[in-house]
């Protein structure tokens, strides 16, 4: 869904997200998407979205990069593995984390 237009850094500050990798804090985030099945996300997530997920392996970074996701937000404090962080830095993906569950986080982003 469409959300209030903010930069990735503004969104992170507003929601009090932990910064795991802020490759481009000025990146404009125009909408949101939630899901953990990578092919589903690949096929449906709009470009420039904030993607909320609990999936945190290296393939998440590849999907985010190829689908032009604006930022990835890991919910429920999902652990990002070292290979995924390395890849996020290499390909320039914004990735944040919060202890909030997916539903609560999405509700906050939408408001």
């Amino acid at each position: 869904m469409q959300i209030k237009n903010r930069t990735a850094a503004q969104l992170a500050a507003e929601l009090g997200l932990e910064v795991l990798n802020e490759a481009d804090g000025e990146r404009s985030i125009t909408c949101g998407y939630a899901g953990d099945l990578l092919s589903w996300v690949m096929g449906r997530a709009p470009a420039d979205c904030a993607w909320v997920t609990v999936m945190s392996n290296v393939n998440v970074i590849a999907v985010a990069s190829l689908a032009d996701v604006g930022c990835v937000i890991l919910a429920e404090n999902a652990e990002l593995d070292a290979a995924a962080l390395e890849k996020a830095i290499a390909v320039g993906i914004n990735i944040y984390r919060t202890e909030l569950p997916v539903f609560d986080l999405c509700a906050k982003i939408a408001n």
């Binding site: 953990d36 099945l37 990578l38 092919s39 589903w40 690949m42 096929g43 470009a47 999936m55 392996n57 290296v58 393939n59 998440v60 590849a62 999907v63 990069s65 190829l66 689908a67 032009d68 290979a83 390909v91």
Partner: protein, 147 residues
Amino acid sequence: MSELLTLKYTVHGDNFTGAGEASVSMKRELRQLGFDANVIRRAAIAMYEGEINMVIHAEGGEAEVIISEDKIEIILRDEGPGIANVELAMKDGFSTAQDNIRALGFGAGMGLPNMKRYSDDMRIETEIGKGTTVYMTVLSDSPKNAL
């Protein structure tokens, strides 16, 4: 129209960490050539799904991308087990992936449907025990750019 560039990649099987390298590289090349962002996104999604399929089902394969001004042709060749029922494999949600693959977030049965959805033309040649070749074309000028 004239061909601008041909890219060739080897997709290694059983390597989920490196899966997507060919698609990421292709995306970078398309960006440098100045293609529209929606065209690049469609090509990248279609190619990544094909790449993942080769890793999951066929122990890797070869990818070739022929880039012209008006279209991007993607050819994915593997020597895997072949697809027993292409019509069934094309259905949303149908998957033969194992649980370990699903745990990574793949195997949702969306790979081939996504490839069809994001390309302008897709053709599959497959033979049981011999392998599969998928041909996809992404046009620069297409109503699918609004996807």
